[in-house]
């Protein structure tokens, strides 16, 4: 069940009553803050799933790929990274997290991803 469906279910049951609150005054974001956020999101996106046409991988991407490959070999087997990457692309967080979550469980995979992304 999605997060939205859960919320709607709870709301229908009357568990989540809306409470009127004081209007929140939001300050308009500064252009530099937005740029910073965009840069962070793009960086995370590239780390999660490197684009196929990306000619040069960054140092962080290489570290993540190397660590992921090591974990896949240790948990599944030495041929797992090759069978997962398919057309020869290096394995990424996007391609490896679903299979790791399925066979190791959500909690173990959360800890594993923490280790993969440490100091990156």
């Amino acid at each position: 069940m999605s997060l939205l469906s859960r919320f709607q279910l709870r709301f229908r049951k009357g568990e989540g009553r809306l409470v009127a609150s004081e209007p929140i005054l939001l300050e308009s974001a500064s252009p530099s803050g937005l740029n910073d956020l965009t840069e962070r999101l793009n960086r995370w996106g590239r780390l999660w799933s490197p684009a196929e046409d990306e000619s040069e991988h960054t140092h962080a991407q290489r570290i993540v790929t190397r660590r992921l490959t090591g974990w896949m070999e240790r948990c599944f087997g030495e041929h797992m990274p090759a069978s997962l990457s398919g057309a020869g692309d290096p394995i990424s967080l996007a391609s490896s997290m679903p299979v790791l979550t399925a066979f190791l469980g959500r909690r173990a995979t959360r800890e594993l991803s923490r280790r993969v992304l440490r100091d990156v």
């Binding site: 090591g70 974990w71 948990c75 069978s83 909690r107 995979t109």
Partner: protein, 297 residues
């Protein structure tokens, strides 16, 4: 039987098996030299029963621990739940048979079977619980594992050998079913009919084992591959044990070979216990606080 880098629990299981097996070989040699069943009988009744109890209890505990690592909405929770229930049924089967045989320190216990209308005696009930019932749970659990493997395309294509093996399994299963159906005219007890389910269920498990093995061959020798490999080994050895019983019933084995074939069941028990130990090792390895990041070649 296991590599030096195997997880601690797996090493413990196979070390215990090795010690137990060495004792068994001494008892077997005594049987070969003297021709009497004194030592062999002691080994199977006391040490053998204890080994089965320890292995099935360990398997049960490990499988329930594996299950607890998955949340309610995760598909592998059902798989490990079913595997844990299979282990629990095998443990219950061992205990019921021990009670039925009166192999307890306080002597034989007279118990009325729970389902006296279905089973002829407590021993038959133990055979059903530890046999077909346990196999049914395991078949559902492995079916779920196969489903998940298929989702991620982890299974390699079947070879010609696999296809021939699958055809043979199905043919043998159908022939056994036909033999059993012809016996229905003799009005067998419901318990006996329930025990006939073990052949088709074992055939189903063998088919699943062939498919699981394809995934193991495809991905290599990691902890999860070894976990599935242990299930394959356990199912194959169980089938060999069943085949030995069938051959003995048809006077196809000598007395010496019959006694030797009883040892197969210890290998199956150790393999069944090792499977969840490997899965738990794969889960725990990411939790170890001082673990080095694995380096890729």
């Amino acid at each position: 039987m296991f590599d030096r880098g195997a997880p601690r629990l797996v090493r413990a299981i196979w070390t215990l098996f090795s010690v137990h097996f060495a004792l068994g070989i001494i008892a077997y040699l005594h049987f070969l030299v003297t021709g009497t069943y004194v030592w062999l009988g002691w080994f199977f009744v006391v040490a053998g029963s204890l080994f089965f109890l320890v292995m099935t209890a360990t398997e049960c505990w490990l499988a329930f621990t594996c299950r607890s690592w998955f949340d309610a909405d995760e598909p592998m929770r059902l798989a490990w739940g079913m595997i844990a229930f299979a282990a629990l049924a095998r443990l219950a089967g061992v205990v019921i048979r021990e009670v039925a045989d009166g192999r307890l320190p306080w002597g034989p216990v007279q118990l009325r079977p729970l389902f006296s209308g279905v089973f002829a005696n407590l021993g038959q009930m133990g055979l059903f619980v530890g046999g077909p019932l346990s196999m049914a749970f395991l078949a559902i659990g492995l079916g779920r594992v196969l489903q998940t493997q298929r989702r991620f395309r982890l299974r390699g294509p079947l070879t010609l050998g696999d296809r021939v093996l699958l055809v043979l399994i199905v043919a043998f299963s159908v022939s056994q079913l036909l033999i059993n159906l012809s016996l229905l005219g003799g009005h067998p007890s419901p318990g006996t009919v329930l025990l006939w389910l073990s052949d088709p269920l074992l055939a189903l498990l063998l088919i699943e084992a062939v498919l699981v093995r394809r995934a193991v061959v495809r991905i290599g020798q990691g902890l999860l591959a070894k976990c599935w490999g242990m299930f394959v080994m356990a199912i194959v050895t169980t089938s060999l044990g069943d085949a030995a019983i069938w051959a003995n019933n048809h006077d196809l084995l000598s007395e010496r070979l019959t006694a030797l074939s009883w040892y197969i069941w210890f290998v199956a028990a150790a393999a069944f216990a090792s499977a969840p130990a490997y899965q738990l090792a794969a889960i725990s390895i990411v939790q170890e606080p001082n673990l080095r990041q694995p380096a890729s070649r």
